[in-house]
């Protein structure tokens, strides 16, 4: 009967196609080679590849550790956005891969999908005897509440957390001076909006001196971005208008549609440049900039590289080196000088935050703008400029 023939055909085709697949272990050296080079690029942290593609294939992730001697094991709990977000978590993974390569540590990654799962993941790593994890890395401030409890339950386990402070002897806290980096991109935006400037697919509107900020969820963390940015803009000229909007909603950091709507209304109100601190929501900001022929500023990673389609409108990115925090904490464990209870703030001085000009149009930014930005950087490091962290104090 027809049906049987069909089924047979499907079966044969399935077997053939399975056999024809060029994957699998130890066989096709070509793909293996490719994969390894991917890994290396992902691990160097230089952002020269469009990271996500090589990283999100998921083939190489779980047991890292090219294993040269070091028997340190790291358990990694990512933030809820998961890998492949092109910013926060991928940046953390970069640091982890680098540690695996340079220090030979082994690691095991996990991607919780809900805030309520954080505790369970942290406990699983802390409880594990085989292997016994030397460090559990927790990415993102939303893990702070769960970690406060978990750290108390497992006093012998070392933890590290990024973006929050947990008051416990066995937790190393890594914070970033996002306001400092944001001040610099604010300064750049302020200088550019007051002049006529065109590069790539965008241009400024010389009649308006307005810039914008799109945040994910309101709170003290994203507030630091806004405060620094606004302060940087106002330092150029206090008459420049800064439009600010928080996307909010149930997935504030993964809502490109809302990000696009927010940015569009800013561009329509005369904004030349919009800075975002909203994770994947920022993709919508870039799309709006492209459509309106205006500019945008990226966040967390060099987004002119991670979002190559929008490279012609991304002036610069405020890079936050989550990878440095992850790498440093692992290095401390390997070297035996892990400091539980310590608060480390990575600012401009430690290169924890910095401004990276756009890959494609960054070269068109006038030299005097860049000079002023790097002057301001030095002044912040020297203490000459005090950058506010609360937008209501600007």
């Amino acid at each position: 009967m027809d049906r049987r023939k069909f089924l047979k055909g499907v079966g044969v085709a399935g077997v053939v196609s399975l056999a024809g697949c060029t994957g699998g272990p130890d066989e096709s050296t070509e793909t293996d080679g490719e994969n390894q080079s991917d890994q290396q690029q992902g691990g160097t942290g230089t952002d020269t590849t469009s990271g996500n593609e090589s990283e999100s294939t998921g083939t190489d992730s779980t047991d890292g550790g090219s294993g040269d001697g070091s028997d340190v094991n790291v358990g990694m709990v990512y933030a809820t956005g998961g890998l492949g977000d092109g910013s926060f978590n991928d940046q953390a993974q970069t640091g982890l891969n680098r540690a695996a390569q340079d220090l030979g540590v082994s690691f095991n990654e996990s991607e919780p999908s809900q805030v309520s799962e954080f505790a369970r993941f942290q406990q699983s790593f802390a409880q594990s005897q085989d292997p016994d994890y030397d460090l559990v890395s927790c990415i993102g401030f939303l893990q702070a509440e769960a970690l406060t409890e978990t750290a108390g339950q497992y006093p012998d386990q070392d933890f590290m957390i990024v973006d929050a402070t947990v008051d416990a002897d066995n937790v190393a806290n890594y914070l970033f001076a996002e306001h400092q980096g944001s001040y610099l991109v604010g300064q750049m935006a302020g200088l550019l909006t007051t002049q006529e400037f065109a590069a790539g697919a965008g241009e400024t509107n010389p009649e308006e001196t307005t810039v914008g900020f799109v945040g994910g969820a309101e709170g003290s963390l994203i507030g630091k971005f806004e405060a620094g940015f606004t302060a940087g803009v106002k330092a150029v000229d206090s008459n420049i208008q800064v439009l600010s909007n928080y996307v909010g909603g149930s997935s504030p950091f993964n809502d490109p549609t809302a990000g696009k709507a927010a940015a569009n209304s800013m561009y329509n109100n005369g904004a030349d440049i919009v800075y975002h601190a909203a994770g994947n929501t920022g993709t919508g900001v870039f799309n709006a900039a492209k459509e309106q022929g205006r500019f945008a500023i990226g966040v967390d990673r060099d987004q002119s590289v991670t979002k190559p389609n929008s490279a012609d409108v991304i002036l610069a990115s405020m890079v936050k080196r989550v990878d440095t925090a992850v790498y440093n904490s692992i290095e401390a464990v390997v070297n035996g000088n892990f400091e539980g209870g310590a608060n480390t703030t990575l600012g401009l001085e430690q290169e924890g935050v910095k401004v990276v000009y756009g890959d494609q149009i960054g070269g068109d930014i006038p030299e005097e703008v860049k000079t002023q930005v790097s002057d301001a950087r030095q002044q912040i490091i020297d203490g000459g400029i005090e950058v506010p962290t609360d937008p209501s104090n600007v």
Binding site: G24, P25, T31, D32, D63
Partner: protein, 452 residues
């Protein structure tokens, strides 16, 4: 009767009709299946889904690249080992009860249970925590289903119930000091039930008195609930000392007592027993009270029920209120077990509850094993990810979970569909007296669970 119409009445030379008749006969067979047969069908579906999932894992393992093979079949190496993945997914969720040396197929008869394994381990605790909440949301959806109402708003009712009870308990903390804090727990549960119930009554009333489609109103009210919760917590009741958007912590005494399981787990046996008591109460309400009779007849054939003297509008509102109250209790239990404070967004237990209810065939008692399956799958996904010996992308685990749920739910789904389109189903829908027969015939008798 229906199977006669299916096979004998068809003409084999016209394949189209033949297929249609076969399908109809198959549906009729499903509709008439006994409870035991349905359990067998579910088990077979589970096994089939695992077999197909294993093929998916193997295929993905061939297309992926890795340095060493996780497993080898027929001379081919595969990157992912399906046996190990399923071992983690199911046994990991139970805390590894099976001794790896126990392998009767190969003649190794060691002790079947892992040494030191107890049912009171942390992994099983997490599985049961998930189960406890899912039983409530599944029950909520099932009760509405029984009345013929498709309540997609369980999620919103859960959010409102959980938030309201948290806020009320927080407000009452100064009143109930010392030992009296124990009293806050029952108050919170009642408040959660009241607010969840009221929030469920809104779409119920809209349907009963304004003929508004409950599917649309409940979906929309879900958005309202989550936005209101986010606004209230962020703007009015935020914990000023926290990075996160959450309310203040409830005092330490306000929680379900933790017995048998370790303190670091979220699970409370008392909460599970309370929830099982609610399952029994719901079963009793539906099967052995006149209100339950009204509710079920309305669900089977609303017009006939009304003809028989049932106030259909009131029944709709009442069943939605009960459904919402169960969801609201679910929200409260979730808050008390997981956090001790309210933090938006609430995970999609309400939507999972729809699947749990379908898995259970809308039987209140069946909700318990269905929710347990869900709990195992959720907890197992975590044990897969945290096990260093299992390498598999988390997205693939999601596919496996989806396959299992799809396969197990489909027979029940087709049964529900079949009731509308086959003779077997039609029998129970024709005329008021037939409805009464159908209801009476399975009134609490084992093996007679054939209504919707």
């Amino acid at each position: 009767m229906s199977s006669e119409a299916g096979s004998d009445g068809s003409k084999p030379d016209r394949s189209g009709t033949e297929w249609g008749d076969r399908a109809r006969a198959g549906l009729a067979r499903l509709v008439e299946a006994s409870a035991f047969e349905r359990a067998l069908i579910s088990l077979a579906a589970l096994v089939l889904s695992i077999a197909i999932g294993a093929l998916v894992i193997l295929a993905a393992g061939r297309t992926a690249t890795c340095e060493t093979a996780a497993t080898t079949y027929f001379g081919y190496g595969f990157c992912y080992d399906p046996f190990r993945v399923y071992d983690r997914l199911f046994l990991g969720a139970l805390g590894n009860p099976i001794n790896p040396l126990f392998d009767p197929l190969h003649g190794n008869f060691a002790a079947p249970f892992t040494e030191g394994w107890t049912p009171f381990n942390d992994r099983l605790a997490y599985t049961l925590t998930e189960t406890t909440v899912l039983v409530l949301t599944g029950l909520s959806v099932a009760v509405a289903f029984k009345a013929g109402i498709f309540n997609i708003g369980t999620q919103g009712q859960m959010v409102i119930g959980g938030l309201a009870s948290t806020l009320v308990m927080l407000a009452l903390v100064p009143v109930f000091t010392g030992l009296a804090t124990v009293a806050l727990l029952p108050i919170g549960i009642v408040v959660g039930a009241v607010f969840g119930g009221l929030y469920g009554a809104i779409p119920g009333a809209l349907k009963a008195y304004a003929d508004a489609n409950e599917v649309i109103t409940t979906i929309m009210l879900n958005f309202v609930a989550s936005s209101v919760a986010l606004y209230l917590v962020r703007e009015q009741f935020k914990d000023p000392d926290s990075f996160s958007t959450k309310t203040n912590d409830l005092p330490a005494g306000v929680e379900f007592p933790q017995l048998l399981y370790a303190q670091n787990t979220a699970f409370s046996v008392v909460a599970l027993l309370f929830v099982l008591a609610l399952v029994a109460a719901t079963y009793y309400l539906l099967r052995h009270t006149s209100f339950g009779y009204d509710l079920r007849t309305s669900g089977l054939q609303a017009a006939a029920a009304e003809y028989g003297g049932v106030n259909s509008a009131r029944t709709i509102v009442a069943s939605m209120t009960i459904s919402g109250a169960l969801a609201g209790i679910g929200g409260t239990v979730y808050v008390l077990m997981y956090y001790g404070y309210f933090q938006p967004p609430v995970p999609s237990y309400g939507f999972d509850g729809i699947t749990v209810a379908i898995l259970a065939g809308n039987n209140p008692v069946g909700v318990v094993p269905a929710a347990f399956l869900f709990g195992v799958l959720k907890s197992g996904a975590i044990s897969i990810q945290t096990d260093p010996n299992v390498t598999i992308p988390i997205q693939l685990v999601g596919v496996l979970r989806g396959l299992i749920i799809l396969f197990v739910a489909m027979p029940e789904f087709f049964r529900l569909v079949g009731k509308r389109f086959t003779d077997a189903g039609r029998r129970s829908r024709e005329g008021g007296s037939r409805v009464a027969d159908a209801v009476r015939s399975d009134g609490g008798v084992a093996g007679g669970e054939t209504d919707e």
